[in-house]
Structure formats: structure tokens, C-alpha cells
């Protein structure tokens, strides 16, 4: 029996398939303008990749911002529940999750059985989200996937005091004008973003072990900044970006 999860995020669409409680495959692609098209395509490409067809799939659960647009899904569930289920699937000991995606960051607390007990999300402001890092990467002319490694080479991290993405960008631009080293500015950006996310974790007092999920978990600079703030190591799965989709597939298998 095969179950599918589709996670339509603000930046990327993810799909995952599980069979007999093991992962069959995952796929990621940009979301673009059309949620349903992105969801359909990422799902079809994943079936092609795994040599399966629609009739092999028993149940589909959709999650993420575009969850309501996926009309072929049997059920829509929020990414909070899906990240909880996904993280537990990848590592059953997990009790806390930090998920930093394109336009959201959230902290999720799990109970002793691994069920979602509480969560906190960023407010309408984009500070502390993937979008914040993207804006800064643009201002600094550094590729988003290079940003983390560059930041780790900082010798004297800059201090970004603005909590608003727009103001932080102008602060960064004035640092560029003062010829601050790029790596130091980036380290400062990571720390500012991590500070925002750490507040969410503190709000609901999450316990360890903590897994970090979402696209931003691919950024080693952010991971280091967050580990420092949270005062504990973060567990990063190679499937950090697909955790929500995997969780959706897990929940589909329980329906």
C-alpha cells in the first residue's frame, strides 16, 4: 500500500511517497504561480521517478499554504501536524521542531507520544523566514545556497538591530557602504533571523531533541546561529525540506 503527501509551500512544492512505513521517494520543485499545477506536476514527476502510477497510490494528503488547491487530495492538513508526523517518522525521539520555510517560521512541541501538543508561528512580519534570507542574499549578491558557508567564515559578526526585513535590508546596505566584510554581515543576518526563531521556541518552551526542518535547514550558517541561541544541537535530516510532505504521506497512511 502506497501513500502520498504533497506540500505546497510559498517557494517550493514537495511530494513524498511511503510504503510499509518506509520512504519510497521524494521530489522538490519551485511552486510558481499556480498551486494546483505545481502540485500535480511534482506528484506526477515523483511517480515517474519511482515507476509508479496513480492507481498504486491509496491516499493523498495535501499540506502547506496551497493545501486547499490540491483537488485530487483526499484530505488537507496543516503543515504543523505534517511536520510533526514527518519529523517523528524520520526520528521517533524528536520532541521539538523548528521549521523555517519561505514565508513562515514555526516552533512545534510534541508530546511523549510524538503528537503535536503546541505550536507558535511568526506574525505577519517576514523577519526570521526564508524570505528574509533571500532578500539579504540579493542585497549582498551571494547565491542563497552559498550564504550559509560564507557566513561561517566570519571573524567578527555584524550586529543587525532591525527586526523588520525592509529596515534590516537598509541596515545591510549601509554596512555594504561602510565596506563591512560580506561574511561578517551574513553572520549578523543569520544571528538576527535565528533570534526571531528562537523566540518562537521559547514561547512554547520546546524540549529536545529538536529537529530543524524546512528549506532553511540547508543553510549551515543558520543552523549554527540557531544552535547557539537554543543552546543545543539541532538534528538535520537529509529530507529537511521534504519533512512536511513525508508527514502528509504518514498521515495519509493512518487514514
Amino acid at each position: 500500500m502506497i501513500f502520498a503527501g504533497i506540500d505546497i509551500g510559498s517557494n517550493t512544492a514537495k511530494a513524498a511517497l511511503i510504503k510499509d512505513n518506509t520512504l519510497v521517494g521524494t521530489r522538490v520543485m519551485p511552486t510558481g504561480y499556480h498551486h494546483l499545477k505545481a502540485g500535480t506536476r511534482v506528484f506526477e514527476e515523483l511517480m515517474q521517478q519511482t515507476g509508479l502510477s496513480r492507481s498504486d497510490i491509496r491516499t493523498v494528503v495535501a499540506t502547506g499554504y496551497g493545501r486547499a488547491s490540491i483537488d485530487f487530495a483526499d484530505k488537507a492538513m496543516t503543515e504543523i501536524l505534517c511536520h510533526g508526523a514527518g519529523a517523528c517518522f524520520l526520528d521517533p525521539d524528536i520532541r521539538g521542531i523548528i521549521d523555517v520555510g519561505g514565508q513562515d517560521s514555526k516552533a512545534i512541541a510534541l508530546d511523549d507520544q510524538g503528537h503535536v501538543d503546541n505550536f507558535a508561528m511568526n506574525d505577519k512580519c517576514a523577519a526570521g523566514t526564508g524570505r528574509f534570507l533571500e532578500v539579504m542574499a540579493n542585497a549582498l549578491e551571494v547565491a542563497l545556497d552559498q550564504m550559509g558557508d560564507v557566513g561561517l567564515t566570519a571573524d567578527n559578526p555584524a550586529k543587525i538591530s532591525s527586526i523588520c526585513t525592509v529596515f534590516a535590508e537598509s541596515e545591510v546596505i549601509s554596512m555594504i557602504a561602510r565596506q563591512e566584510k560580506r561574511e561578517n554581515i551574513i553572520a549578523g543576518i543569520h544571528d538576527a533571523a535565528a533570534a526571531r526563531v528562537a523566540i518562537l521556541a521559547a514561547k512554547i518552551r520546546i524540549r529536545g531533541p529538536i529537529m530543524m526542518t524546512g528549506g532553511v535547514a540547508k543553510n549551515p550558517g543558520m543552523i549554527a546561529a540557531l544552535e547557539k541561541r537554543l543552546n543545543q544541537p539541532l538534528i538535520i535530516s537529509p529530507y529537511c525540506q521534504e519533512t512536511g510532505a513525508i508527514g502528509a504521506a504518514v498521515l495519509a497512511s493512518r487514514m
Partner: protein, 411 residues
């Protein structure tokens, strides 16, 4: 998400209430032609002496709620910001200050005041807000200062507030040029007490399962106990409403079809999103059965002596929900959680209302520790829609309901 089942019949008293509010505002708007005086007063202010002296009380905060419900908050708030006021200022204050100048909003602005009565038992913003309006309209302002009762009502607070009540009466006598009639004052006090007692009874009906009305209905029916407190009109209306709600209970009519989950709301409503929020929760078969906000207009009943209203008023107005310590607020919330038997608490972190939103994190923690029920915190603003993000709100509510359902063993 489940299909939308047939909506239950609407509460009939709503039409009467609309008519009563229209009459009230028409009377207030025509005050000058009828040689009557108008006082603007804060929502938690002691209105009874005004009613006893035949002064028409008008509430900028009730007006603010109307502006929010009419979705006219954004323009008026932006106008106030153009005038130089900070976007961090309360949206009631911003829309009122702008409305006084542009005569906008759903009723073309409030009638010009002859005096302003400001009581800071609800917040500190009202002090500066009313000072601004006193300068703008060039009218006298009376400030009643009610110290926060962190742990209780001390003799010093009692003496201090009582002395101000005497000054308040003297102020009114001076502005109107009339003496207060003690018999009339007692009568108004008795009606105010009766109105508040009935309002509490209205709110108590939602302890019934299924609940005959929701907090969204309470937000609406609240207007009368705020604006017409101390009048026979409010007393008569609430009696009628109670009868109708009792009949709904008898007929088994719940306001949310197939009510399965019961929730408690904290803080002011998001006035511009009442229907949206109500629909969103109803779709999960969840009914917001009660709230901490509307009960603020009857929570001090125990401190009122209906036969000696004026003397007991000082204590009753000082010990309202927003003027007590966080520990006591948490106790009130816990009491409501038990009384209404709710499955979850929804807290609106209200950008506008600092005294209401400050302390919510502590209350959230206390509630979770003492009851274990899930608590949702949503960020919005009561009037300014620019702080509202629909898709973020959807995700939060849906995720919260997933947890509520799971805890209730119904996921």
C-alpha cells in the same frame, strides 16, 4: 473540511437591537437641536451619573467597533497616520481622532461633545486620546484615575477613587448648571445593576450544550449594556433576549450546527473579520461559546450595592477585568473554562490593545498547566485590517483545531 449544514434560525432580538441602537444614535446626533448635552465617555467609564443628569453618553470605543465592523478602519487609521499619529497607537484612538476631523465612518462621525469623561480603568491610552479631543473640541475633560488593583482593593485606593467620584459629580453639576437628584441617581443605579445582572444571565445561557448563541453574538448584543447601561431600555431588551435564548435551549437550537467543540475567546473581537472567523470555526463544528471581553460589563457585579450605587461604584469600576493583576485575570479565565466547559482557548493578541494583550503569554502558560487544554494565539488588530493575514490565520486555526480534535479523541 465538513460540508456546511443548514444554518440554524437567526436570533430574532437582533433586529430589535439594531433599531434600539439606531434610535440611540439618532437621539445623540440630534442632541444639540433638543437642547441636550452630550458627553463622550470611555467604555469602562461610570456612565450612571450622566444618565441621572439627562446627559447623553456617547462612546468613541463603541463607534470604533462600528467603524471596524463596517470595514472603514483602514482608511481612518491611515488618515490619522497622515495627521502624524503613530501606527502603533490604538486603532480606536486613531479612527476616532481622524473621524472627528473628516466626519467619516458609518454614521458620519459622532455628535460634538459638550464634555469628555475619561476613566483609565481600561487603559492608559485614553488619557492622551481624550486630552487631544478636549483640545480639538475645546470642551472640559474629567479624568477618573483608577489605580490598577494588582492584588486587591486597598483602603488607600478606596479613599482615592471615592474622592474622585465626588469631584466627578461636582464637575457634572458645574458643566450642566444643575444639581444632581439623588433619587434619580439611585434609580439609574438600580437599573444599571439590573441590566448588568441580566447581561450576565444572557452570557450564562451559552453554558448549555449546544450553545444557543456564540461569543460573536455576544459581541453584537454587548452594545446595549455599554451604551444604554442604567436605562429601562437595556433592562427590557435583555429580558426579551433571555426569553428567546431560553426558548432556543428548550427547542435544542445550537448556533453552530452539530456543535462538537467549545472554545473560549480572549481579548476584543477582530471587528472586521467576525463573520470570517465565525465561519472558519463553525466549519470545524467549533463554537466560541464565551469570551473574557463581553463579561467585563458585568464582572464587577459583586462589588456593587444596588441600594447604594454611587458609593459602591468606585470599587466596581476600579476592579474590572482589565484593571486587575495577571494572576487574577488567569483565575477569571480558569473559572470561565470550567463554567462553559470548553475544549480550547483562543487568544487574540491585539495589536491595538496593549493592556489586554500584555500578560497573555503568562495566562496561556497558566491555563495550559492547570487545564491542559490547547491554547491558540493569533495576532491581529480589532479595527486595522493591515495587521491581518488571512492565509496565516487559516493555517493557525486549522492546526489548532487538529490538536483540539486529537485531544478530544476525534481526529
Amino acid at each position: 473540511m465538513p460540508d456546511n449544514p443548514v444554518a440554524p434560525p437567526k436570533i430574532k432580538a437582533a433586529k430589535k437591537m439594531r433599531d434600539l441602537m439606531t434610535t440611540y444614535y439618532l437621539e445623540a446626533l440630534g442632541a444639540a437641536q433638543n437642547n441636550r448635552q452630550v458627553a463622550w465617555i470611555t467604555s469602562g467609564g461610570p456612565v450612571e451619573p450622566l444618565v441621572a443628569m439627562d446627559i447623553i453618553p456617547v462612546y468613541p470605543e463603541n463607534h470604533g467597533a462600528m467603524i471596524g465592523s463596517a470595514k472603514m478602519g483602514e482608511d481612518l487609521c491611515a488618515k490619522a497616520e497622515d495627521m502624524g499619529y503613530s501606527p502603533d497607537l490604538c486603532a480606536y484612538a486613531r479612527s476616532d481622532i481622524a473621524c472627528a476631523v473628516v466626519k467619516g465612518g458609518p454614521i458620519g462621525g459622532l455628535p460634538k461633545p459638550d464634555m469628555l469623561i475619561c476613566c483609565n480603568n481600561i487603559c492608559g491610552t485614553v488619557l492622551k486620546w481624550y486630552e487631544i479631543q478636549a483640545r480639538y473640541f475645546q470642551v472640559p475633560l474629567f479624568i477618573l484615575d483608577t489605580p490598577v488593583c494588582h492584588t486587591g482593593y486597598t483602603p488607600e485606593i478606596a479613599d482615592y477613587v471615592k474622592a474622585q467620584v465626588n469631584e466627578y459629580i461636582a464637575f457634572l453639576e458645574q458643566v450642566t448648571g444643575k444639581k444632581m437628584d439623588p433619587d434619580k441617581m439611585n434609580e439609574v443605579g438600580r437599573l444599571s445593576y439590573e441590566g448588568q445582572r441580566l447581561w450576565q444571565q444572557v452570557l450564562n445561557t451559552t453554558a448549555h450544550k449546544p450553545s444557543p448563541m456564540s461569543a460573536f453574538d455576544a459581541f453584537f448584543f454587548l452594545a446595549l449594556i455599554v451604551t444604554l447601561r442604567g436605562t429601562q431600555i437595556a433592562v427590557d431588551f435583555y429580558k426579551e433576549l433571555i426569553d428567546e435564548l431560553a426558548q432556543r435551549i428548550k427547542d435544542g437550537i445550537g448556533v453552530v450546527p452539530n456543535e462538537t467543540f467549545r472554545l473560549l475567546w480572549d481579548n476584543l473581537p477582530v471587528w472586521h473579520r467576525l463573520k470570517w472567523l465565525s465561519d472558519r470555526f463553525s466549519a470545524h463544528q467549533a463554537c466560541l461559546v464565551a469570551d473574557t471581553y463581553t463579561s467585563a460589563w458585568c464582572s464587577a457585579l459583586t462589588h456593587i450595592d444596588e441600594n447604594n450605587f454611587l458609593d459602591s461604584m468606585a470599587e466596581a469600576y476600579t476592579r474590572i477585568y482589565l484593571n486587575i493583576g495577571v494572576d487574577q485575570m488567569a483565575q477569571e479565565v480558569l473559572k470561565m473554562i470550567r463554567f462553559y466547559d470548553v475544549n480550547g482557548l483562543v487568544m487574540h493578541s491585539n495589536r491595538s490593545c496593549k493592556p489586554y494583550s500584555f500578560g497573555q503569554m503568562d495566562i496561556m502558560r497558566i491555563v495550559r498547566e492547570k487545564t491542559g487544554i490547547p491554547v491558540l494565539m493569533i495576532e491581529a488588530d480589532m479595527v486595522d485590517p493591515r495587521y491581518f493575514s488571512e492565509s496565516q490565520m487559516e493555517t493557525r486555526i486549522d492546526a489548532f483545531m487538529e490538536i483540539v480534535k486529537h485531544k478530544a479523541g476525534r481526529s
